[in-house]
Amino acid sequence: MIAFQDVTISFGEKTVLRELSFQAEFHEKIAILGGSGEGKTTILKLILGLLRPDRGRIIIDNQDITTMSEAELRKIRMNFSIVFQEGALFDSLNVYENVAFCLREHTSLKENEIEQEVRRLLKRVDIEDAIYLMPEELSGGMQRRVAIARSLAACEPKMILYDEPTTGLDPLTAENICSLINELSEGSPPDRKGFIAVTHKVTDAAKVAERFLFVKDGKIEFDGNLEEMIRTDNGTLKRFINELLILGDSHV
């Protein structure tokens, strides 16, 4: 379980999250919505212990990670994997080496076994043909697919964190990425692999998530399912949804 308890974090003069609290289970399919600069990515980094809050506690698996050392955090991070907005592939390594990275670091598999596993993962995200390409030779959608494959090689995470998974992609590629996210979280709770996707693309979020959190001014203004979100009385959220729907997501 993940629990944020009154978490506050500032960068310089700017307070990004103010006493933010929420709870989530590893098997949940969650979308965190909000505008740019509202601290959505910061929430993901806090979950992974990549940032430490100024105040408040973050509990993962009944352990307070805010006081943990880097070595202790490594064990907590094994529960997760993350796919950053632009994929964050290692640009000095080709696709094969990017996906094999974690296997080489953390397993004693032989090279032919690593190759088999890499091919299996690339096939799962439907990008096997790009195995020996360099990251700069890939399109945005392909980079994200490779990043997803790499995240799956990361010691079987219980939950995947997606940072703006469809931003900057054309509608068809975004659709493919949404299908892939759904595929990877197939099954019924509590056995399935859950995810938290932060995004400002509400239509894409609606395709994949079952629970929606809306972040505004450093706080969670809404927490509920799709139906509740559509019927919300929260004026800001209503405007956020309407604006996106009227404009059409890809134009925003």
Partner: protein, 256 residues
């Protein structure tokens, strides 16, 4: 990075930790041999031509200046000795280190900086990989191996440049020039000249990696990190050179 005292102390503390952790990383598993070799290739082989060029012209300029002054005093025959001591003890290590900071140090800072901005360093941490051990240790190790090696090459080329000017421009005797060089090749001079690049390599790589890893704020932040890495390295090379020269003179019992 605001220039307030708390911020400066935080940076100093983080730099201190990195500069201790990075060399210690060489002695524990996992060993990143491939990364170290790649860095040695980038830092060493990649800098070879620049070092040759810089050293050749420094040696020629120094020989030319020295010959002119000594000719006025009728002491041209000492050109080799003065050029040799200056190059081996002082100018060679400092000039090569400054070139190294400009080429390799800036490269390290910008490469690590863009890895930070592109979340690649975050990914390493999420995958349970220590970024200092994976990224900094190979760069520090390659620098403390390659900078002394480059300095050796640079010194040799400078002496050849000095020889060319002494013999073909200043019309001195070639064998005399080399015998003067041979005379100054004692333990004190060689030790003075070759101990410095180890420390310079360590300093340049630690500063550059630290600046790269603490990059914030996009392209502007990257520019600032790279510039700061080169400026700090340059200043520290000059200050450390003076301090080290003073210490070596004391340790080796040389008279001032």
């Amino acid at each position: 990075m605001k220039p307030d005292l708390k911020n400066i102390l935080n940076h100093l503390q983080s730099f201190y930790i990195l500069s201790i952790k990075a060399p210690l990383g060489m002695f524990s598993r996992p060993f990143y041999l491939r990364e170290t070799i790649e860095q040695m290739d980038y830092a060493g082989a990649g800098s070879f031509l620049i070092v040759i060029l810089v050293s050749l012209f420094i040696g020629m300029a120094l020989s030319l200046q020295t010959s002119v002054e000594l000719a006025a005093l009728g002491l041209k025959m000492y050109t080799g000795k003065i050029v040799g001591v200056s190059i081996i003890r002082e100018i060679g290590p400092v000039a090569i280190a400054l070139s190294y900071a400009g080429r390799v140090g800036s490269g390290m800072a910008s490469e690590l900086g863009s890895m930070v901005l592109g979340h690649q360093v975050d990914i390493l941490r999420v995958f349970g990989v220590d970024p200092v051990k994976k990224l900094v240790t190979p760069r520090v190790l390659s620098s403390i191996i390659m900078l002394p090696a480059l300095t050796l090459v640079g010194d040799a080329v400078s002496l050849l440049g000095g020889y060319y000017i002494a013999v073909f421009v200043s019309h001195q005797s070639g064998p005399l020039y080399w015998s003067q060089i041979k005379d100054i090749m004692d333990f004190n001079n060689i030790f003075s000249g070759l101990s410095k690049p180890f420390l310079f390599g360590y300093l340049i790589s630690c500063i550059s990696c630290y600046m790269g890893l603490s990059t914030t704020g996009g392209a502007r932040g990257l520019r600032k990190a790279t510039t700061t890495a080169v400026v700090l390295s340059t200043i520290l090379i000059i200050i450390t050179d003076f301090a080290l020269t003073r210490i070596l003179i004391f340790i080796l019992g040389m008279k001032v």
